[in-house]
Symmetry: C2
Subunit: 245 residues, 2 copies
């Protein structure tokens, strides 16, 4: 299967016919994936701008992109935020960043929960993982990734409605959640939400959901909840519906 190689770069002003790839991307194009003169590539700026163009090596280290077509992708109709508590393992945060990009999240927040047991430091790796995930998946918006120091601080900044994935939620409810252009999915830490946090979320109007009787690790809960949300707002296409009979 032919595979379109994607590169990340700021894009030139309208009207320009070509531009240089940043050195790291040029290196990747020429030395790692070994593209040749005239190969078709995609270059995106992480904010919806994309250029389809032809690669033109200039010497051994530089590469120019000859612009064939420019596109400005519209922002998603519904901007999804995922807000996951600080978890034990750095790897879990990284997996969440990757999956969040793949599922089209607009914003990723890691927040300190009362039961978070380990400090979560903003990692340079996150940006890199998000960028790689964009390149691989064809997403053209790189999500913002940020930290918040408590659930209280989180609620100051996130968009409503907030969907609260709570293992102790009423399993018999199936809330209908009214979404305009933004929505936030809230995921707790390994030790679950504290009673204080559950009460706070309720005061703040968060809508509790129950995702079945299986016990999900936090990063799995995040992946499952993001998938359900992405499916509901149309990011996973029309996919399918099951009729039982």
């Amino acid at each position: 299967m032919s595979h379109l190689h994607r590169f990340f770069s700021s894009l030139p002003e309208e009207g320009k016919a070509s531009f240089l790839l940043p050195p790291e991307e040029a290196h990747h194009a020429l030395r790692v994936v070994r593209l040749r003169d005239g190969d078709t590539v995609s270059v995106f700026d992480g904010r919806g701008g994309e250029v389809e163009g032809r690669l033109r090596p200039c010497g051994k280290k530089e590469a120019e992109i000859e612009i064939v077509r420019r596109m400005q992708h519209p922002e998603p109709a519904v901007k999804m935020t995922v807000a996951v508590a600080w978890l034990h393992r750095d790897k879990a945060h990284e997996d969440i960043v990757r999956r969040a990009v793949e599922l089209g999240m607009w914003r990723i927040i890691f927040w300190r929960a009362d039961h978070s047991q380990k400090k979560c430091a903003a990692a340079d790796r996150w940006e890199k993982i998000a960028l790689e995930a964009c390149k691989q998946s064809g997403r053209v918006f790189i999500p913002e990734i940020e930290l918040q120091d408590s659930l209280d601080a989180l609620f100051e900044t996130v968009s409503r409605p907030v969907i609260h994935a709570l293992p102790a939620a009423d399993p018999l409810q199936k809330p209908e959640i009214l979404v305009h252009d933004q929505v936030t999915m809230l995921i707790g830490p390994e030790g679950d939400f504290s009673d204080r946090e559950v009460a706070l979320a309720q005061e703040q109007g968060a809508i509790q959901i129950h995702m079945g009787n299986c016990i999900f690790k936090s990063e799995v809960a995040a992946a499952v909840a993001m998938t359900l949300l992405a499916a509901q707002v149309g990011e996973l296409g029309r996919h399918f519906s099951v009729v039982s009979g």
Copy 2:
């Protein structure tokens, strides 16, 4: 948060008041998680049988379970199979096994696709991973895991309907899939389905679905497709629905 420790064992005949844990599980209970005399545990047999009981150490290496309550969980109303092509990375197979258990798959098949580039050997690790995932998530049925040598062989053995997650499917269709008590989700390899396989699946009545414009790696496509399927057959509870406004 209190956490119920789960152990795997065949269960004794009805009427018995207690039984010995297998040596490995007893070691885990006494030496690794360091449970104490009288702690409440769950023991499951991987086929829906479960005992809630109290741990009674007998000497340094053995542990008896005093039965408090026995349960036989019903089989799921819809048995889901996931059939994923042989992938490049062993780790991808392992991740799929884990996620399949968490999402309640009944059967996991890895099949050799025309574009599979690497032989996939049935791994003892899979059984172990599936078992660990059952213990962690509280699932009480260990899925069968098997290999098939081609898509042709796969279709000889899998239950209908077969849902065919095909990147080239018509994005405007949203098939309604009639499911009685079984359903299979079919996922291709990194190099996608061959034309021959697409035709074969169509002949066999597989129903093509499109999961949006994002390019998913095979293991991500599997996770997303399994989540959508599990949600549709009710394995993820009632969860929620989004109403746009």
